[in-house]
């Protein structure tokens, strides 16, 4: 069953109109993309800075209006709904736990907000529900009266997860949820999220730049480059058998114990100018296999093998 369906979703940020002349075409942060996430699945989204992963996430939770396309959750279209409607179905866990908690509110006030505003839950019921949620993220109830600055990064991130759970959503978008944490704490949070998923029957969209982490937690992985999907495939095989040269470059660049240090083959490492994107494949400028065809036409996402799709004229 499909939990989340995205069709032709795109975002172009308008640029300020100059005093004279027409407005420039704008920055295409996310180019039209379509994908589905099955119920109970974890879809990993990887990409480097500037690939549009945060823009995508913000559109999915309704914090940003898409320029085109639409989003369906459990078969219901969510176009033009207000954030509160989104909030009951899909929630967000932010990258920086300290900036996502209001420094002047107690933890109880923070977790109570979705119960009060989204579900209009009466006070007595809220108390028991908060206690349940807090227990499931392994935090002690005595923390509820404290303020965010009293918590470490790992604890604050668990509070952020608790807030997302309080809305009782079907889907949670995890936007780099462990990037700000140390490795020893990172695993605590990742394992907790895995348990919660089973407990509450959740569907995850896990956004990160860390290949090893995304591989360890995902069922399928979506690779983004310059605002577009370049490859989708099963987590256990996509980095071992990449079809798109960019996926291969990513996999080869990740530092691995025991592998000698070599700079992977590529020409330059600059992203194309988002104000003036090239006509063909965005990766052509860095790709060792690029031909004139690549520089002229943008390849579409095509099936390559069982569960793998790649957008490349010359797949590996």
């Amino acid at each position: 069953m499909t939990a989340l369906k995205v069709e032709n979703l795109a975002k172009t940020f308008a640029l300020k109109k100059p005093l004279f002349g027409a407005a420039p075409p704008g920055v295409r942060a996310v180019r039209a993309m379509s994908f589905e996430v099955a119920k109970g699945e974890t879809l990993g989204v990887v990409g480097e800075s500037g690939c549009g992963k945060s823009t995508l996430a913000r559109m999915l939770v309704g914090l940003l209006e898409p320029s085109q396309g639409h989003i369906e959750i459990d078969g219901r279209a969510l176009d033009n709904a207000d954030p509160a409607e989104f909030g009951k179905l899909i929630q967000y866990v932010f990258q920086d736990p300290s900036s996502s908690l209001n420094p002047r509110k107690t933890i109880r006030q923070i977790i109570e907000a979705p119960l009060k505003r989204l579900h209009k839950m009466p006070k007595a019921e809220r108390g028991t529900r908060i206690a349940e949620i807090f227990a499931s993220v392994n935090l002690r109830e005595e923390f509820l009266g404290r303020y965010p600055h009293e918590f470490s990064g790992g604890q604050a991130q668990r509070i952020g997860i608790a807030r997302a759970l309080a809305a009782n959503p079907r889907i949670i978008i995890l936007d780099e949820p462990v990037s700000a944490l140390d490795v020893s704490v990172q695993a605590q949070v990742l394992n907790l999220m895995k348990d919660l998923k089973a407990e509450f029957g959740l569907t995850y969209l896990f956004i990160t730049h860390d290949l090893a982490v995304v591989e360890a937690v995902s069922d399928r992985i979506l690779v983004l480059y310059f605002g577009a999907v370049v490859e989708v495939g099963r987590a256990d095989s996509i980095f071992a058998n990449p079809r798109h040269p960019y996926t291969k470059l990513l996999a080869d660049s990740a530092p691995v114990v025991g592998r000698p240090l070599t700079a992977p083959e590529q020409k330059g490492n600059e992203l194309p100018d988002p104000l003036n994107p090239p006509p063909g494949c965005a990766f052509a400028g860095r790709c060792p296999f690029a031909t004139d065809l690549c520089r002229r036409t943008d390849p579409a996402l095509e099936r390559m093998g069982d569960d793998q799709f790649a957008a490349c004229h010359h797949p590996l």
Binding site: Q91, S99, L101, A235
Partner: protein, 628 residues
């Protein structure tokens, strides 16, 4: 309560509060004090000196009692000033919050209007308003409040825009809160301290301004008098009877100064950055307070010997580095690995005295470059070594390069501060260095500003700058952490080539085992300010001896491992101002025994390997024999 203690710990603020309090008491008691009518004229008694019979402060040009007029005038001036500040503060802040939160076109229109009002030198606006409404104290109040609204609006809008972009506002929207509720319960509590600060620091100014309008004869009208109009009326007799001018003038000065002192105190107490002392100027060189003996010289190229660096914040002492010894030989790359707060960066910065002081203090040990102690060195001697013999590469090249200088100039400057070379020659050398770090189009790139380059290119500039004077040692503090993974691979391989070509010694600080494994010959693992394990890279990674090292390695997900449960270490690293006795890792260790929790545990082991553990995971004696 806590807030008041904080406020009055500041002695100047306390002084301001006392002076202002005394004035307020005097003013409030005015109605019950046996004073004369402030407006009762007695022409024969005009211009009496202070301490005259029945007139403690003398009389003015109409023979009115100055003391009485002074107290009544003070009441009026204070009241008008505070009222103006409140009106301007409330209206201006409301405009600012709405504009900052709503954004878009509304914001644009409001801010255009504000800019328009700020395009007037404020007195012109005030004069125009008074000209239209006619002179009078109330009109002066309106004018002063009106001209200050734009200042509040702009100030508060700026703060609001910063807050509205924070993630907790997004989170509140996803929690189903309405815009009004977000403004009132999420934004306002965070903006309020700024509003209070802005108001308290402008009250003094408002009092001055209303006094000024009255001084011009546009504020309070006779016979009513505030301090400004008293001064204005006395001006004609300034030279003959100065006391009539001096008394109200001094009173304005006292009020405004005490209000300013109190306002500054309030600001310091409310601003958390000021409270934590974070706005102290770092000295050019870290403070050194060594009491123990300095360790003897060794023949290493760079040796860190029993280094201890602390942060003194208030009465707390954070032992960031608690006795670290390391040595690098020419051509060697030593990896220093640890989690945040382990003291690895502080160790690196201590080498050249770059730890911010205050609050940093080096309290023990030595850092020797070719045998010379750098910790005890004088500033000028150390400066000559910085960047010349020992150079640094820092983490985030966007914040570590100066945004207002061209990269080529920053590079040339590094050369010219150690060698007497001309501008042209330094520039040529800069181009050469850019080519060495493989920056394409070096000749045109050196005229770029940092913001015109990508992250990877900027870090190449950072590396070129470190290489500028052909140093012997490079200390690289997480040089690839801020970079994308494809760029990281290139930077690492560049560093590796450079060190082989030039025989550089590198001290490489990182939290990433993958990076260490690829680049470093030896590694040292830090935990809570101390080295817990040291040895050749492959040996440590394959057979870690310290339980912390072993479990930390297990935590790192490796690419190619597939979907799996990840290992975690329960608990949190200890805070370095309250370290447990014995092994700092003991509370989180699953092999802990009673004797781990007291006494000093030494870093010991055979040959190149060493571990700080009573019950190591691997038998080092046996291991060394088999590898040997």
């Amino acid at each position: 309560m806590h807030f008041l203690t904080l406020l009055f710990r500041n002695q100047l603020a306390a002084l301001g509060a006392v002076v202002l309090g005394a004035i307020l008491v005097a003013v409030l008691l005015t109605p019950v004090l046996p004073l004369q009518d402030p407006n009762a004229t007695a022409t024969p008694d005009r211009f009496l000196s202070p301490f005259a019979e029945g007139h403690l402060l003398g009389t003015d040009h109409l023979g009115r009692d100055l003391l009485s007029r002074l107290l009544h005038g003070t009441l009026l001036s204070l009241g008008v000033g505070v009222a103006a500040a409140l009106i301007a503060g409330i209206i201006g802040s409301a405009i600012g919050i709405v504009a900052g939160y709503v954004g878009g076109r509304t914001d644009n229109i409001i801010m255009r209007g504000v800019d328009m009002l700020m395009a007037f030198p404020y007195i012109l606006l005030a004069l125009a308003i008074v000209a239209a409404l006619g002179p009078g104290l109330l009109n002066a109040l309106i004018a002063v409040a009106a001209v200050n609204i734009p200042f509040f609006a702009r100030n508060i809008r700026g703060v609001t825009v910063g807050l509205a972009g924070r993630e907790f506002i997004d989170a509140a929207r996803l929690s189903g809160m309405s815009h009004t509720r977000i403004i009132l319960t999420e934004l306002l509590p965070n903006v309020l301290p700024v509003i209070i600060i802005a108001m308290s620091t402008t009250v003094g100014w408002m009092i001055l301004e209303t006094a000024g309008l009255s001084f011009l004869g546009l504020g309070s009208q006779p016979p009513q008098a505030d301090l400004g109009s008293m001064l204005g009326e006395a001006r004609s007799a300034l030279i003959t009877y100065p006391h009539v001018s001096v008394i109200p003038g001094l009173m304005i000065f006292l009020i405004v100064m005490s209000v300013n002192l109190l306002g500054d105190g309030l600001r310091d107490a409310l601003d958390p950055r000021l409270r934590s002392g974070a706005l102290s100027r770092p000295r050019a060189i870290t403070l050194v307070e060594r009491e123990d003996e300095v360790p003897a010289a060794t023949d290493d190229l760079l040796a860190i010997q029993d280094l201890q660096t602390q942060f003194h914040v208030g009465d707390r002492i954070y032992r960031a580095v608690g006795g670290v010894s390391l040595a690098v030989r020419p051509g060697e790359c030593l990896g220093l690995i640890g989690e945040s707060g382990s003291g690895k960066s502080v160790t690196a910065l201590s080498v050249m005295g770059l730890v911010s002081s205050p609050p940093g203090v080096i309290t023990g040990g030595a850092v020797r470059f070719q045998g010379t102690d750098l910790i005890g060195a004088r500033y000028e001697a150390l400066r000559r070594m910085r960047g010349d013999r020992v150079a640094y590469i820092f983490q985030d090249p966007l914040s570590t390069l100066h945004p207002l200088y061209r990269v080529g100039d920053q590079l040339a400057e590094a050369i010219r501060s150690h060698h007497k070379v001309g501008h042209k020659e330094a520039r040529e050398r800069a181009v050469q260095l850019f080519e060495d770090v493989r920056i394409p189009n070096a000749k045109s790139r050196i005229d770029n500003y940092p913001h015109e380059m990508s992250g990877g290119m900027r870090q190449r500039v950072g590396i070129a700058m470190a290489l500028a004077n052909d140093p012997d040692v490079i200390i690289a503090d997480e040089p690839t952490t801020a970079l994308d993974v494809t760029v990281q691979a290139q930077i690492l391989s560049l560093l590796n080539d450079l060190r082989r070509d030039r025989g550089l010694a590198i001290l490489f600080i990182t939290h990433d085992f993958g990076v260490v494994a690829q680049l470093c010959d030896r590694i040292a693992v830090m935990y809570a300010g101390r080295i817990v394990e040291e040895g050749p890279t492959t040996a440590v990674l394959e057979r870690p001896a310290h339980p912390y090292t072993k479990r930390l390695i297990a935590c790192v997900p490796e690419l190619g491992g597939g979907r799996r449960e990840l290992a975690a270490i329960t608990g949190l690293p200890p805070v370095v101002n309250d370290l447990p006795p014995g092994c700092a890792f003991a509370p989180r260790c699953d092999k802990v025994r009673a004797d781990c929790k007291h006494g000093e545990i030494a870093l010991a082991g055979p040959g190149a390997r060493a571990v700080r553990c009573l019950y190591p995971e691997a038998d080092l004696q046996k291991g060394e024999e088999t590898t040997a």
